[in-house]
């Protein structure tokens, strides 16, 4: 029987041609207590690709990308991001690597004691030691323009709507010019119109910043709009991997319900 990794290797090379791989996971396992969340995950992320990971709630999608940035330590397996072995990095090296990865959280995770401007300035000040007012201002305005919210800079996060928060959250990661973007449920809790706007933003970010992205979602329309390639996660295993149109035809009892609405 084909192991998932072998299957993955075959298909990846088939679909993405010879684009370089920027991140790869091999046989990643993670369990919390007795519960196995990730049983054996392997995947590759290619340059400038939008990879959607589709799965039901509680299948460990978020855990997977948190393992990739070292927020959660995987029990076993290999995680290689931008040429670094994430699991063996020192804290300082890990911070170095994280600067090149943008992470958009499900709840957007804005620092609610700071204004939008301070939110965006925070990573600049803490990581790049940029303190000049003019420079900060330019970077902040540019990032806000890219997400289409240039006149919210003096608002508090509590004054913003859910969609705006998402955008600001994305702007905060973009300000560090990441090479890889990880989106955790970008459209969760948003109405279809706002969700579509976010999906368009995800695409425009790829165009503008030339990023490779992993998009975690259970929203099939999000997957349709943003994906180059989809990996379906079922019971902690990567079950199916294909384009959206191929996946639509699936007869798999675990995946078919996604498309049957």
């Amino acid at each position: 029987m084909d192991t998932s990794a072998d299957y993955l290797k075959k298909s990846s090379t088939a679909k993405m041609g010879n684009r370089p791989i920027v991140a790869s996971l091999r046989h990643v396992k993670k369990s919390f207590g007795a519960m196995e969340v990730l049983r054996d995950i392997s995947l590759d992320l290619h340059q400038n690709e939008n990879l959607v990971i589709l799965g039901r709630s509680g299948t460990g999608k978020s855990v997977l990308i948190k393992c990739m940035v070292g927020l959660i330590r995987a029990d076993t397996g290999e995680i290689n991001v931008l040429g670094c072995d994430v699991r063996s990095l020192t804290p300082d090296q890990l911070d170095e690597l994280r600067l090149q990865i943008g992470f958009s959280f499900q709840g957007s995770a804005l620092y609610d004691s700071m204004t939008v401007r301070q939110n965006l300035e925070f990573p600049l000040k803490r990581n790049k030691a940029i303190f000049k007012k003019k420079e900060l201002e330019d970077l902040v305005i540019n990032a806000l323009k890219d997400v289409g919210l240039e006149n919210t800079s003096d608002k508090m996060p509590s004054e913003l709507s859910g969609g705006m928060k998402k955008r600001i959250g994305i702007a905060r990661t973009l300000i560090l010019k990441p090479k890889i973007m990880l989106y955790d449920e970008p459209t969760a809790g948003l109405d279809p119109i706002t969700a579509t706007e976010i999906n368009e933003l995800i695409l425009s970010v790829r165009e503008k910043y030339n990023t490779s992205s992993i998009i975690i979602t259970h929203d099939i329309s999000c997957a349709r709009q943003t994906s180059d390639r989809i990996i379906a996660l079922v019971n902690g295993l990567n079950k199916e991997e294909s384009t959206f149109d191929e996946l639509k035809q699936t007869k798999d009892p675990d995946l078919a319900p996604f498309f049957s609405y």
């Binding site: 927020l71 911070d95 600067l99 992470f103 959280f105 995770a109 925070f122 803490r126």
Partner: protein, 250 residues
């Protein structure tokens, strides 16, 4: 096997402790944030400390007066009150008030940041949230508690003086001369050192509770609760242990 979670937890606490010290002295300093937190600590507890210390001074004076006057030693009131306030009452009241006020504040603040993934967000943008959030707060409480204790001592003595003045017409100069002549430097220093430990305990326990809180809104409540209760408990424990050590020098 029931011991295992306890042991794991204490190992975790120890590592948290170690991390604070490592980052406080080795990581790039967070003086800007420390200053901000110091101000917050003072600002949050200033009114409460003033109020409680003043009342404690008044009440303690009024309650110890009858027993002193029953053997004609009313003139000993200032020295009795000053020793009680500076050795024990001032640090204890400040510690408990700050444990309540700052403990719940820090615990809930960090826990809600944890729950809404703000701490994770800092982590993944490489912003070193531990030193930014935890080290700065622990440093701030450790530095500010002694200051607050000095302030509380003064306010409590003032309250006591006003009471004594009201009843006996004792003058300001006489009262504070008596107070000053019965306080030793050992009293003051030991009380300040005690306050430093109180401050560290409050900051450490509250930060730990908040930073390691469970996810979900119940986690926030639990963290705040743990922060306050354990901080208060530890204030009494530290008080006892410090008493033993201070008695060696007395």
């Amino acid at each position: 096997m029931k011991f295992k979670p306890l042991l794991l937890r204490s190992a975790d606490i120890y590592q948290f402790f170690q991390r604070i010290f490592k980052q406080a002295f080795h990581a790039p300093s967070e003086w800007r944030e420390v200053l901000k937190q110091c101000f917050a600590v003072g600002n949050r507890s200033f009114f409460l400390v003033t109020f409680t210390a003043f009342l404690a001074g008044v009440v303690f004076t009024r309650q110890s007066r009858p027993s002193l006057s029953s053997f004609g030693a009313e003139s000993w009131l200032p020295s009795l009150v000053s020793q009680a306030v500076i050795r024990s009452l001032g640090p204890l009241i400040t510690g408990l008030i700050c444990a309540g006020k700052l403990g719940s504040n820090i615990g809930a603040e960090l826990a809600s940041m944890k729950v809404t993934e703000q701490i994770d967000a800092m982590e993944v943008s490489g912003s070193r949230p531990f030193s930014f959030l935890v080290v700065s707060r622990v440093t701030a409480t450790t530095l500010m508690l002694p200051l607050l204790v000095v302030y509380a001592d003064c306010v409590a003595l003032l309250g006591s003086f006003i009471t004594v003045n009201f009843i006996n017409n004792t003058g300001f100069k006489l009262y504070f001369n008596t107070v000053a002549s019965h306080i030793t430097y050992l009293d003051i220093f030991s009380s300040l050192i005690k306050a430093t430990f109180f401050g560290f305990a409050i900051g450490f326990i509250s930060s730990y509770a908040g930073y390691n809180s469970d996810n979900g809104t119940t986690g926030v409540g639990k963290a705040a609760n743990t922060a306050v209760v354990i901080s208060m408990l530890f204030i009494f424990i530290i008080d006892l242990v410090m008493l033993q050590f201070i008695n060696l020098f007395r």
